[in-house]
Symmetry: C2
Subunit: 437 residues, 2 copies
């Protein structure tokens, strides 16, 4: 077959990694693709960094390695879109603005395949891009958009095809996981651990998107679209970050043999997909509790083949780039046989508050006889089964309570807490987290 | 496209599961394949069990559901091989005898694709089958042959294509892992745990293949062929089972914060692939140490994307069947674009004894001053760096030693032990296991 020609728009950390792998593995990649695979054009406003960091030849860049004005870049992009010799465009520009959105749509409209690692764009404005691809019979590769190196997208599309996915959950944000791991293992506060994460390069100067759960939410939205065919907006998906986890919360987790993780969770049940992002206390017997540092992990539960866990690097230049290269090869090999449609969305979305999960409720009370009976009676009145009650820490005149419930809804939990509050025995606002077994 | 017709030879636990999934998910599977996928023929000597267990219609079987003689079965198989309407044959006969070997080769020669879960056959006689497939331009699907439900084969072939695999290791035998998990968690002897495994259906009446490391070796041989293009025989691959792990060994593992696992290990280094199967002490910080019960896990280390771990069910009817169905769909979709060649074998094989690994050496000595110096001096003389020395257990007149070394070869370790033996201070034969971090 003829050469498979690629244009790369944006040559930063990830784009540069793609050029590097395609150059270093050129011979092997051509063999694997069954045809020559070649980067024919690179458009980058400031090629200097990429030239230095990845050793890319100046001549590889449109403009010969000089800085480009926005107009010049647009002109090169326009040439690429009009060039019928280009088969695929890799977008590593980033952001969710109109420029990159229009670029992606126009790539599809020009009859070229698109590969993108842009999770925010695909989560927030992906529907129009996927539709444009379907209408124009081209593929969108987005392996790198969900958990960097972990091949979850192809696993779902090509390996779990003889099965029905019931639920997907996991640790989809490396920054949060790094911060939580250090908080737990070194008994640090959130602020201390965040500072260390920033110093180690695992958190941005402005870490909001990562620590708020927003980045994890983007990935969960993409997975729900791919698996269940459902379009969920960031507004519909309730996501909660790790900022408000206190040292006391950490102590409670330790007490029930669990570790805090920022968990993305989606489950199919009847006509609904229940989903959300929030910190959960993950029990030690769950493998996810042992996934620490910046590592990501995804758990998929299938109807026939049961529980699967994939663990790997969620970010990084060559890690993310290797997923992009795998997408390029897959399209180069199988393009004309690929099913470009995502599943059809007949299912409806509901938040996790409507789904039954085991919870842990922690609070401080007066330290006097009769409190346990009073508290557990109120919980039982809401039809919540209690798994364990721990109140073995008594500090001066306070008793610290930690109650693990069996599966119940947040509504039931909140109703029980409201009733307990009326008794005037609480010394602090109760804290509630789901438990993941 | 026209219907994709399948013949199933053998309809036991796994074959029955394939019929069940194809029947229950028929509509979805056809959509995913982009064409109708249909089991047109089933050949089974004793269809009665499958009819009862999986609710398969009698009419689906060649012979209408009656018992078949071997001659009748052979005649039906011959019809299938001659039928140009059949696109793919699923072999779930099992065994490594000439009958099933010839069946697989003849399927390929007849121009039909082959899907098989038969790890023993592919490991011991696979070369001729893969060659026949390549010569006849048909595909061999063997996802189900390595770790049942875990999609490691497609992950290697389709997802890690933008990368170079450096090493593969893991827990590839569920029976051994189940036995070891119970030995560790309930302080059982090997014999006790084996009995429980047999009662729970996790071990066969004759468990030899599983507990000897033979079954794990089969899977490692297939992985080494797929990843590194190297043909290794069962004779060349040194494999060691779990039978000789004692309760004392278990205590030593606990002491260095590790758990025993039967580990398959292969690593590319220069012109060589170093590989083997043996029990290792897996450190608690390694996620594999938390993979317990009959669950399987595979760790792949890639040049660009780093460490990946896949965890899932290694056996079971519907679990294994789901992998077979995924193979069927993949071939139905992408058949005419598939690269049928396995990598070319220029690399040479060496056993793990030639590879440097950290080891733990345990033994009992006289309990008197000077022993530690004497022992560690001999180890140092072999250019082995010591990581830690533990000898905190003193029982009557014995001291129990446990020495963790840094990476060294088994040859160095054995040389040090020989020297130590000449000192006349040992009260037992030293026990040596590699450590996996």
């Amino acid at each position: 077959m003829n050469t498979f020609n690629i244009a790369l728009i944006g040559c930063g950390t990830v784009g540069g990694g793609v050029v590097k792998i395609l150059s270093e593995m050129n011979h092997t990649l051509n063999e694997r693709a069954g045809r020559a695979v070649k980067i024919s054009r690179i458009v980058e406003l400031n090629p200097e960094n990429a030239i230095k960091r990845f050793g890319i030849q100046k001549e590889a860049f449109c403009g010969g390695g000089k800085k480009l004005t926005v107009d010049e870049a647009n002109s090169y992009i326009s040439d690429i879109l009009n060039d019928t010799g280009i088969d695929l465009v890799v977008e590593t520009v980033g952001g969710t603005g109109d420029f990159v959105f229009n670029l992606c749509v126009n790539v599809c409209k020009s009859g070229k395949h698109l590969v993108s690692a842009n999770k925010a764009l695909l989560a927030e404005r992906g529907k129009a891009i996927f539709n444009a691809a379907e209408e124009n019979n081209v593929s969108v590769g987005f392996e790198a958009a969900v958990c960097g190196a972990i091949p979850i997208i192809k696993t779902i599309r090509e390996s779990f095809t003889g099965d029905e996915i019931v639920s997907v959950s996991g640790i989809l944000n490396g920054t949060s996981n790094y911060i939580l791991s250090r908080m737990i293992d070194e008994n640090l506060s959130f602020e201390q651990a965040l500072t260390f994460a920033q110093e180690a390069g695992y958190a941005e100067a402005d870490p909001t998107l990562d620590i708020s759960g927003g980045d994890a939410a983007h990935k969960l939205i993409i997975l729900m679209k791919l698996i269940f065919g459902i379009d969920v907006t960031m507004e519909e998906l309730k996501y909660q970050g790790i900022q408000s986890i206190s040292k006391t919360d950490m102590d409670y987790a330790r007490e029930i043999n669990a570790r805090f993780k920022l968990i993305c969770f989606a489950r199919h049940d009847g006509d609904f997909i229940y989903g959300g992002v929030c910190p959960m206390m993950v029990k030690d017997e769950n493998v996810l509790s042992g996934v620490n540092g910046a590592t990501n992990a995804i758990r998929v539960i299938n109807k026939y083949s049961g529980k699967h866990i994939l663990i790997g690097a969620g970010a990084g230049s060559s890690e993310t780039a290797s997923s992009i290269v795998a997408d390029i090869l897959f399209i180069a090999r199988y393009n004309d046989r690929m099913n470009r449609t995502l599943p059809n969305g007949k299912l409806k979305f509901k938040g996790l508050k409507d789904y039954t999960l085991p919870y842990v409720i922690t609070f401080e009370t007066e330290d006097r006889p009769g409190i346990t009976g009073l508290v557990t009676t109120e919980i039982g009145r809401q039809n919540i089964n209690i798994y364990t009650v721990t109140h073995n820490r008594h500090v001066s005149d306070k008793a610290l309570f930690s109650i693990e419930t069996q599966a119940s809804t947040l509504k039931q939990i909140n109703a029980a807490i409201s009733e307990i509050k009326t008794k005037g025995i609480l010394k602090c606002e109760p804290v509630v987290y789901p438990i993941l077994y």
